[in-house]
C-alpha cells in the first residue's frame, strides 16, 4: 500500500521533526484547490541529556509504524561550513573539494557523510562530468555513525523514513522563505543550538552569507548554571533551565556571557567584512521552555529576535487553518523547520 501510494504520488504525508529538546509530529494533506490541511499535530519533549539514544521512548512509541515519513533530525555532530572557492579548486571539479574539506575544516569523508550545496541557490552539487562548481559552497554533514544510529532507531520502531533531513538546513530554508515573503533584506543571525555546540551562520537575501565556528551549547550552559546556582546534577540543572530561568536574569546573563562574546566577535567580523548590519536573530533547536535564551542573547547582542507572523506565512502557502483547534500550537519558532519541510514538499 505504501509502495502504491508513493508510486501514485500520495497527497497525504507524515512529517516528524526531531531536535535534541523536542519532537513535532504532523500529517499534511493536500486538498482541493491546492490547500494544505494539517492534522495530528503533536509536540513532545525530548530529553537532550540521555546517552546512547536519540529519541525518548514515548516519542518512539508515538512514531511507530510511520512508514514513508519525512524525518528531520538533529545529530549532535552536524555541521555547516562555508567556503569561497578559488579558481584553482574550481578547475579540479568536485574532487577538488575533498582536500579542501580535510585541510580547512578537518572533515574526513570516511567518518562523515557530507553534502556540498551552492550557498546561493541551495542546490546540491553532484559528482558528474558536467558539474560546474559555484563560487560559494556550503558543506553540510554529520558523522556517518551517528546518522546511521539515528536511522536505525527510527527503523527499529518500523518508522521507515522517506527522507532524512537535517533540522538545521530545513529551518534555515524556512527562515529564508519567510524573510523573502515579508521582504526582510537585512542579514539574520542564525544560531543552531545544540547539546555540545551551537552552529552560527548568517542568512541574507535567501542564501547563506557566512558560517562561523561553533560556539557553546546546552551542556556548557548547564555546567555554568550548575556552578552559578550550586545545583547537584545536570538533570536538575536542565530542569532549572527549563522552569525557573526566566525569573533569574542575572544568572541568565552570566551563563550566556561567553557564548555571546564569541558570537559578538563573529558579528563584528561580518559587519566589517560586508558592511551589512545584522538586524535579526533566530535561534533554532529551542523548546518553548528555552525560548528565554533568544530574548537573553538578543538583548546582550542588541539584535531583535526575528518575529514570525505564522498566520501570514501559513496563508501564503494556502494552509487551511479553519476548524483546527491544534493550529494554535503553531505559533512557536520550533515549528519553522517543520513548516518549511511541509512547504518544500508540497511546493
Amino acid at each position: 500500500m505504501d509502495v502504491l501510494s508513493s508510486f501514485l504520488g500520495s497527497k497525504k504525508q507524515k512529517f516528524i521533526y526531531t531536535s535534541e529538546t523536542s519532537c513535532l509530529l504532523a500529517t499534511v494533506t493536500k486538498e482541493k484547490k491546492s490547500t494544505l490541511s494539517l492534522s495530528d499535530l503533536e509536540e513532545l519533549a525530548n530529553n537532550p541529556l540521555k546517552e546512547n539514544a536519540y529519541l525518548d521512548a514515548p516519542i518512539l512509541k508515538k512514531i511507530t509504524k510511520s512508514k514513508n515519513a519525512i524525518c528531520m533530525v538533529a545529530p549532535l555532530s552536524r555541521f555547516i561550513y562555508k567556503a569561497k572557492l578559488e579558481a584553482k579548486t574550481k578547475s579540479k571539479g568536485i574532487q577538488g573539494l575533498i582536500p579542501l574539506l580535510k585541510e580547512r575544516f578537518n572533515a574526513d569523508l570516511k567518518t562523515n557523510q557530507i553534502a556540498a550545496i551552492d550557498a546561493y541557490t541551495g542546490i546540491e552539487i553532484k559528482d558528474s562530468a558536467n558539474t560546474v562548481l559555484p563560487d560559494h559552497v556550503c558543506f553540510i554533514g554529520t558523522q556517518k555513525q551517528e546518522i546511521k544510529m539515528i536511522q536505525n532507531e527510527f527503523m527499529d520502531c518500523q518508522c521507515i523514513p522517506k527522507k532524512l533531513l537535517l533540522t538545521t538546513l530545513t529551518t534555515a530554508k524556512g527562515i529564508m522563505d519567510y524573510t523573502k515573503l515579508v521582504k526582510i533584506t537585512q542579514p539574520v543571525l542564525f544560531i543552531d543550538f545544540s547539546v555540545n555546540q551551537s552552529l552560527v551562520f548568517v542568512l541574507c537575501n535567501n542564501h547563506i552569507e557566512a558560517a562561523y565556528p561553533p560556539v557553546h551549547g546546552l551542556k556548557s550552559l548547564i555546567s555554568l548554571t550548575r556552578k552559578a546556582c550550586s545545583l547537584p546534577d545536570d538533570v536538575s540543572t536542565y530542569k532549572y533551565l527549563l522552569q525557573s530561568m526566566t525569573e533569574d536574569t542575572q544568572v541568565m546573563e552570566t551563563i550566556t556571557q561567553r557564548m555571546c562574546a564569541d558570537i559578538k566577535s563573529y558579528i563584528d567580523f561580518f559587519e566589517v567584512q560586508t558592511s551589512l548590519p545584522i538586524e535579526f536573530l533566530f535561534i533554532n533547536g529551542l523548546s518553548p521552555q528555552l525560548a528565554w535564551l533568544t530574548q537573553c542573547i538578543g538583548k546582550v547582542l542588541e539584535i531583535k529576535p526575528l518575529q514570525i507572523d505564522f498566520n501570514t506565512w501559513l496563508q501564503t502557502h494556502k494552509v487551511n487553518t479553519q476548524g483546527n483547534e491544534k493550529m494554535t500550537q503553531i505559533s512557536q519558532p520550533s515549528w519553522i523547520g517543520m513548516l518549511s519541510a511541509v512547504f518544500n514538499y508540497f511546493r
Binding site: 509502495v3 533530525v73 557523510q113 553534502a115 550545496i117 541557490t121 541551495g122 542546490i123 546540491e124 553540510i140 554529520t142 546518522i147 546511521k148 536511522q151 536505525n152 527503523m155 521507515i160 523514513p161 527522507k163 532524512l164 533531513l165 537535517l166 538546513l169 530545513t170 534555515a172 530554508k173 529564508m176 518544500n344 511546493r347
Partner: protein, 215 residues
C-alpha cells in the same frame, strides 16, 4: 529519447536546501524484508486456502463415496425383492385385467345367459351362428362397474343359408327378445353381409349382426 534523458526525466527534481541523509541500503533492506514478509504471508494464506480447498474436496469426495456405497448396498439388497415385486405387479395387472373382463361380462345390462337362450330358441334353422361376442364399453379407470350408464354391443357372426332376406325378419325378431326388453327403445339392430363371403356352391352367406345399445 536516449537513456540519459529518460533517466533525468524520471529522477526526482532536486529541491534546494534539502539533503537526504538516509542510508538507502538500510531502507531498501527494510523494504525488501517487509516485501519478503508480505510475500511469505501471501504464500502462507494461499497455502492455507489450498489446503482448505483440498481438504473440503476430499471430505466431500469421501461423503459422496459413502453415499454411493450406501445406495449400492441398498440396491444390491433390494434388487431381488424389487424384481419379485415387479413380477407380483405384473401378475396383479394381468389378474386385474382378467377380473375386469369378467366383471364387464357379468355387468352387462342384460342377462346374457337368458339372451343366449332366447337367441337359440328364436333362431331359424337357415341361420347358423359362428361367434357371439358381447362387450361392454365403460371407462377402464372406473373401479366399480356402473351398469346403468354403460353401452353394450353384441356381435353375432354367422352364416345364412339360402335367401338373405330372412335376416331382415330375424333382425325384427331379435329386437323382440325379452332379454333386451328394457333397452328396446334405445337399441339398434343391423346386419352386414361380409363381402366375398357368399359360397355359391353351398348357397351360404356370411353375416354379422350388431345389436347396439347406447346409454
Amino acid at each position: 529519447m536516449n537513456l540519459q534523458l529518460l533517466k533525468s526525466y524520471l529522477s526526482p527534481k532536486p529541491r534546494p536546501w534539502e539533503i537526504d541523509f538516509r542510508d538507502k541500503s538500510i531502507v531498501i533492506n527494510s523494504q525488501l524484508s517487509s516485501i519478503k514478509i508480505y510475500v511469505l504471508a501471501a504464500m502462507g494464506i494461499l497455502t492455507v486456502i489450498l489446503i482448505g480447498v483440498s481438504f473440503f474436496t476430499e471430505l466431500d469426495h469421501k461423503r459422496q463415496a459413502t453415499r454411493f456405497n450406501e445406495i449400492k448396498t441398498f440396491l444390491d439388497k433390494n434388487t431381488t425383492l424389487h424384481q419379485q415385486m415387479m413380477r407380483h405387479n405384473k401378475d396383479f395387472v394381468d389378474t386385474r385385467n382378467r377380473v375386469r373382463t369378467l366383471l364387464n361380462a357379468y355387468a352387462l345390462p342384460i342377462d346374457l345367459s337368458e339372451f343366449l337362450l332366447e337367441l337359440c330358441k328364436s333362431k331359424p334353422h337357415e341361420i347358423r351362428f359362428n361367434t357371439i361376442a358381447a362387450n361392454c364399453q365403460s371407462d377402464p379407470n372406473t373401479k366399480v362397474v356402473d351398469v346403468a350408464h354403460k353401452s353394450f354391443n353384441i356381435q353375432i357372426y354367422g352364416i345364412v343359408k339360402g335367401d338373405i332376406a330372412i335376416l331382415e325378419s330375424y333382425k325384427t325378431q331379435l329386437l323382440q327378445l325379452k332379454a333386451i326388453d328394457a333397452f328396446k327403445n334405445n337399441c339398434k339392430c343391423f346386419y352386414n353381409l361380409e363381402k366375398n363371403t357368399v359360397d355359391q356352391q353351398a348357397d351360404e352367406t356370411r353375416f354379422q349382426i350388431n345389436l347396439q345399445y347406447s346409454a
